[in-house]
Amino acid sequence: MFGFHYRLERRTIGFVLAVMVVSSIGGFVEIAPLFTIDETVEDAPDMRMYTPLELAGRNIYIREGCYACHSQMIRTLRDEVERYGPYSLAVESKYDHPMLWGSKRTGPDLARIGGKYSDAWQVAHLMDPRAVVPVSVMPAYTWLGRTALRIDDLGLHLTAMRRVGVPYSDDMIANASADAYGQATPDGDRAAGVVERYGDATHVRSFDGDPSRVTEMDAIVAYLQILGQLTDAAGKQEAVTTGNGQ
């Protein structure tokens, strides 16, 4: 073995090829089957996609680096399930390009934060976290409330998402900007189209409390309120495993 190596280390290209082969095996064995084994991701026929407004909110969540302190992945541990809700399933992030499972909980997990607090609480918390949670170490995000949301290019966002595999329809792409506006303007004439395209469960309301304009605050709160609500697959799974569903 050492004799072989004694010869190998005299050849540059041979050595390079050896490193490439030896280093490729692990990743190949662990990653490739995740795309081919069907059981990797559960079926969830009720799974819906992010609306353009929620997607814009998700991009703000990414932009501000929220994932550095908040996970979106409840592990299969008793205390986590009791603290945050049913453990996360793979299917729940199947439209997440990229995933935001996170690696650190400086703040709590957000996988099922949707619906736990009112819009007004979320807005107040983002504007000044210590006004509602006195010992919080979260930064204030005051600029979200005063910045208008860019919605004119949301069609491009949906198109790119479709190219990587999210089944947005032509109709959704064509109306992306109008739907973002409509979802945050409940009394306007574009609100009906959002429900028509994304389903009755879609939240249509002024998330930041000011229906006269669509801000980045509207988008981020719309996103936070949908976390854990895109499918009921995890709730059903829990009902089966605990017997509560019978």
């Binding site: 050492f2 190596h5 005299r10 540059t12 290209i13 050595f15 390079v16 490193v19 030896v22 280093s23 490729s24 095996i25 692990g26 990743g27 064995v29 662990e30 995740l34 084994i37 990797t40 991701v41 990414i62 932009r63 501000e64 680096g65 550095a68 992945m73 592990r75 299969t76 541990l77 205390d79 986590e80 009791e82 603290r83 793979a90 992030s93 199947k94 439209y95 390009h97 990229p98 995933m99 935001l100 499972w101 650190k104 909980r105 709590p108 997990d109 210590r130 949670v133 010992v135 170490v137 930064p139 204030a140 995000y141 005051t142 860019r150 290019d153 491009l156 966002h157 198109t159 790119a160």
Partner: protein, 552 residues
């Protein structure tokens, strides 16, 4: 600088600079979002700057032939200065965000200065800015010495070094403006990623061309590690950054993968960025500078081989231990845990090989802070690889994951191992490169050593405490069978440790500032050491031909 390039190289450098400036101009002109356009302007300014640098020496006479009888070290010198600049910048931001966790109001009411944007500035600044520049600078130095050959040309090392720094600047300025892919340690957007691929391929080709010119029959161990670093980082970078931009005139892109596949790809990348950027590359440093400084040969050739191939093979399986108990299929988690535990063997082989090399030179470790930097780095390498294998065991991970224990583990490796081996190597190489008798002040090296060591220990102990307390509080039940502590309770318990951690980080930062001053004063000193070791030269061309005829 440009006057030392040949005329052909000057023309090429000017061409590349102008091309870069034009690309920047196009991005700035066509850019459909402000951050993207700002990056266009930045690229254009960078291209104009390198064009001016080239023009300043454009009409100088051809460089003297005598240069070919010496190693080409100018890029290494500039790389070391850049590395120290990034170190101070990245560690300053790091300490700032550490204070923010204790006192969240210590910032401005502006988006760029919020924790979420500063945090990747810190990680990129220290990993890629400080670590990357140090790796590039030392790899140029080591590959020439161990091959006893000069670099094949003088332009590509500059392209690699300056191009790499352009990538780092794009990355960091992007975070301030809110540009990020959110993939940890792979945050820069698609155009910066493409630029890095171009730079990185040039780096690989330069390395291979230099090795091809070597006058030593064998490729030395340090080069195995540097090569693995360059090769594997290229693969990791390309796969993990596959993404669909929304438009060629906007920065935003969507990852090609989603959900569980994206998570696995990301942590395959993330863990092997630790393995091949923060471990392999720095083991390359260790395997050259430690024996040189100690004046002892590497303890064991066989341990070197086993350590190298073990690390290259096992590490690539270990990434899934970042995803224990998640929605990742359990078979992948089990593989990740198993290989992470096995990884301890090659890791400790490498650490033991380094420490045993010091046998017979321990009196030097006592007297010489530079060698002591390297010795303590090897110790921390052994410590943090043990800790890493331990934390990869599923039940341990159930406690440690998502807590500050992970942060403490990373910093035991990043401060104790990566930064200490880098400082040690830089203190060794600076006097050699600038031909000085020694560093400007040995006492300041000594002061830096103790500041760095004490800072690391404070940091790591604070995070061990806070992480384990946090993990235990989250899972503690009271007698009635409900969770005993709210999340906020655990946050309040963290406060003293967050203050301690920020103080430890401050020690480390002050050490880096002192080190930068010491290096700067060494460079500025006018007194050259005339006793240049005669062996520190490439094998001349005539001898090389003879050597080739003799069959090597």
């Amino acid at each position: 600088m440009a006057s030392l390039l040949t005329k052909n190289e000057r023309q090429l450098a000017l061409g590349i600079s102008i091309l870069l400036a034009l690309v920047g101009l196009a991005m700035a002109g066509a850019g459909d979002d402000r951050a993207y356009a700002a990056h266009g302007i930045l690229i254009m300014v960078f291209g104009v700057g390198t064009a001016f640098l080239t023009i300043s020496g454009y009409h100088a006479p051809e460089p003297p032939e005598g240069r070919l009888a010496q190693y080409y070290d100018d890029p290494s010198k500039v790389g070391i200065v850049l590395a120290m600049g990034w170190a101070v910048f990245g560690m300053f931001i790091g300490d700032w965000v550490a204070w923010l966790l204790a006192y969240p109001e210590m910032t401005f009411d502006a988006a760029w200065s919020s924790f979420g944007r500063l945090r990747p500035v810190h990680t990129t600044g220290v990993i890629f800015g400080f670590g990357g520049n140090a790796l590039i600078a030392t790899s140029f130095h080591v590959m020439q010495r161990t091959s006893r050959a000069r670099m094949p040309d003088q332009l590509s090392p500059w392209f690699v070094l300056l191009g790499y720094n352009l990538f780092c600047i794009l990355a960091v300025s992007g975070y301030f403006m809110g540009l990020t892919q959110s993939k940890e340690y792979a945050e820069p957007e698609w155009y910066a990623d493409i630029w890095l691929v171009i730079v990185w391929v040039t780096y690989l080709v330069l390395y291979l061309r230099t090795l091809a010119r070597r006058q030593e029959p064998h490729i030395y161990v340090a080069n195995w590690y540097y090569l693995a670093f360059i090769l594997v980082v290229a693969v990791l970078h390309i796969v993990n950054n596959l993404a669909m931009p929304i438009s060629l005139t906007q920065a935003k892109s969507y990852s090609a993968f989603a959900g569980v596949q994206d998570a696995m790809t990301q942590w395959w990348y993330g863990h092997n960025a630790v393995a091949f950027f923060l471990t392999a590359g720095f083991l390359g440093m260790l395997y050259y500078y430690l024996p040189k400084r100690a004046g002892r040969p590497i303890y064991s050739y066989r341990m070197s081989i086993l350590g190298f191939w073990g690390i290259t093979f096992f590490y690539m399986w270990a990434g899934s231990h970042h995803l224990h108990y998640t929605a990742l299929p359990q078979w992948v988690q089990t593989l990740g845990m198993t290989f992470s535990v096995m990884l301890l063997v090659p890791s400790w082989l490498a650490a033991a090989n380094a420490l045993l090399t010091l046998n017979g030179a321990w009196h030097k470790v006592r007297d010489d802070a530079t060698l002591r930097f390297m010795m303590v780095a090897a110790l921390f390498y052994g410590l943090s690889t043990f800790e890493g294998s331990f934390m990869a065991i599923r039940p341990v991970n159930s406690l440690s994951h998502y807590t500050d224990w992970t942060v403490g583990h990373v910093h035991a490796g990043a401060l104790g191992w990566v930064a200490l081996i880098t400082f040690g190597s830089i203190y060794a190489v600076v006097p050699w490169l600038w031909k000085r008798q020694g560093m400007y002040s040995a006492k300041l090296v000594e002061a830096h050593f103790w500041l760095a060591l004490v800072g690391t220990l404070i940091y790591v102990f604070a995070m061990w405490n806070s992480g384990i307390i946090q993990g235990l509080m989250w899972r503690t039940y009271n007698e009635s069978g409900t969770l005993a502590y709210s999340f906020i309770d655990s946050l309040i318990a963290m406060h003293p440790y967050y203050v301690a951690r920020a103080i430890g980080g401050l020690f480390f930062l002050i050490g880096a500032v002192i080190g930068s001053y010491n290096i700067w004063m060494t460079v500025r000193a006018t007194r050259e050491d005339s006793r240049e070791p005669i062996a520190d030269r490439p094998v001349p061309a005539v001898a090389r031909d003879r050597a080739l005829q003799s069959g090597e």
